[in-house]
Symmetry: C2
Subunit: 235 residues, 2 copies
DNA sequence: ATCATTTATTGGTTGGACCACTGGACCACC
DNA sequence: GGTGGTCCAGTGGTCCAACCAATAAATGAT
């Protein structure tokens, strides 16, 4: 048994501007700040938060990148409608804020629709190098099962040779770095993933797209149910 | 004929920190800055760019949000492997930098895989309100065809009642705000979209998921070919 | 060798100043 | 009535010069 299993998070202490981001982000996403509303000037915000204007600006910069705000030089700062413009990073925030885990289930569902197609494409397009990388990740690399699984998905996405697939997959992986324990805390799920890795590798190796897709869909369905069960227990 | 048709672009002048973002982003994505490499301290960067440190910091903040950089207090700034951590916003940059339009074709392909499933889900789950919104956008709202089409896709995504679908769809729409002209500059494509809107509305209205999916897939295939043809001509 | 302490480096924050752009008010002119 | 010009207050963009806080490397005591 490992000496410490006690939450190995780096625990990066929140920076001031990040706290401001969180506050404003919540207010926009729960409607306290309506779409189109004009926010107070940076100078006022700085005073409100008892913080320097440069700090406020770094926060606003991030909110602008999230597509939550529109900043107009000489005019002011306006809230946007996040449903129409919001960024995928919003989902990460929504998942962690969301008590009922509805958003996490949304993510699982979307994954179930999107990722099997990637497996299909990967089986058609994988190069020998893709195959070697995948083989290494599955059979040789020394990794925790969570990290190995993430790596496998990553390499499958990369084998599509579609940059958007590769990058989009990162999103799911970032979520599962935080929530993967809901799945990998159970020994039989780890066994299931081991089987999955072997099977999908064979399907991709032998260029069987339908089979790769089916294998991926099966494991995602299984994982989705497992996570739901896990959530139901801890609730 | 309108009195002026002379280039109605808002023409927002680039801010200094955005130029810095672009420079560093390119260097990371083309490998000039290798993954894991340590960047110079903020103070040095400021001097290099002949710019204030606060300006550099706003740029670094954005690059951090793009998951291109990892910033460690007391340590330094490190480049990340964008293939493993990068954000969807990178794709937007890649699309515009990419001379051969390979990334744009990647986007179209991914859309063809993802969006038809949304139409399927929408047909199953749409509420009367979703339907009313869709009807308004298609038959009543006064919009350019590009804006109407974006709105239609947006509302279909929203009718999935899956937040991730809604937000993910924004990504495609942001791309097509910039590149939609490749499609909508041709009159027969506009006609095609009008038909598409009517058909998909009926399918969703009458709760026919397979039909909605097929209609969506058809139009996306058509659009993909049209865009390819358009690119081939302007090349 | 090992561990505690110090020190240099580097990101985080601050206060205050000035520049650049926007929108609105006002005015002169046609 | 409307058209364009000028000015001004408000607001975001940038700058400067410090100091605070965290990290890693160097140092020294054990």
């Amino acid at each position: 048994m490992p000496a410490q299993t006690v939450l190995a998070q780096p625990l990066t202490r929140s920076r001031l501007h990040e706290e401001i981001v969180t506050i404003i982000q919540k207010q926009i996403m729960n409607g306290t700040i309506a779409p189109g509303a004009k926010l107070p000037p940076e100078r006022d915000l700085a005073e409100t938060f008892s913080v320097n204007r440069a700090t406020v600006r770094e926060a606003l910069r991030k909110l602008e990148n999230l597509e939550l705000l529109e900043i107009r030089h000489g005019d002011g700062v306006y809230a946007k409608n996040y449903l129409e413009s919001g960024n995928l990073d919003l989902i990460k925030a929504a998942v962690s804020l969301d008590e009922g885990h509805a958003t996490l289930l949304n993510v699982l569902e979307a994954r179930r629709f999107a990722v099997p197609e990637m497996a299909y494409m990967a089986a058609l397009r994988r190069t020998p190098q893709d195959l070697a990388d995948l083989e290494h990740a599955i059979f040789k690399a020394e990794l925790t099962m969570l990290e190995r699984d993430i790596k496998v998905h990553q390499l499958i996405a990369r084998a599509t040779h579609n940059l958007l697939c590769t990058i989009f997959l990162n999103f799911f992986n970032q979520i599962f770095r935080d929530y993967g324990y809901l799945y990998f805390d159970h020994e039989h799920n780890i066994t299931r993933s081991r089987t999955f890795h072997r099977e999908i590798f064979e399907a991709i190796k032998h260029g069987k797209p339908e089979e790769a897709r089916r294998i991926m869909l099966d494991v995602l369905n299984y994982a989705e149910e497992a996570v739901k069960a896990s959530l139901a227990n801890t609730r």
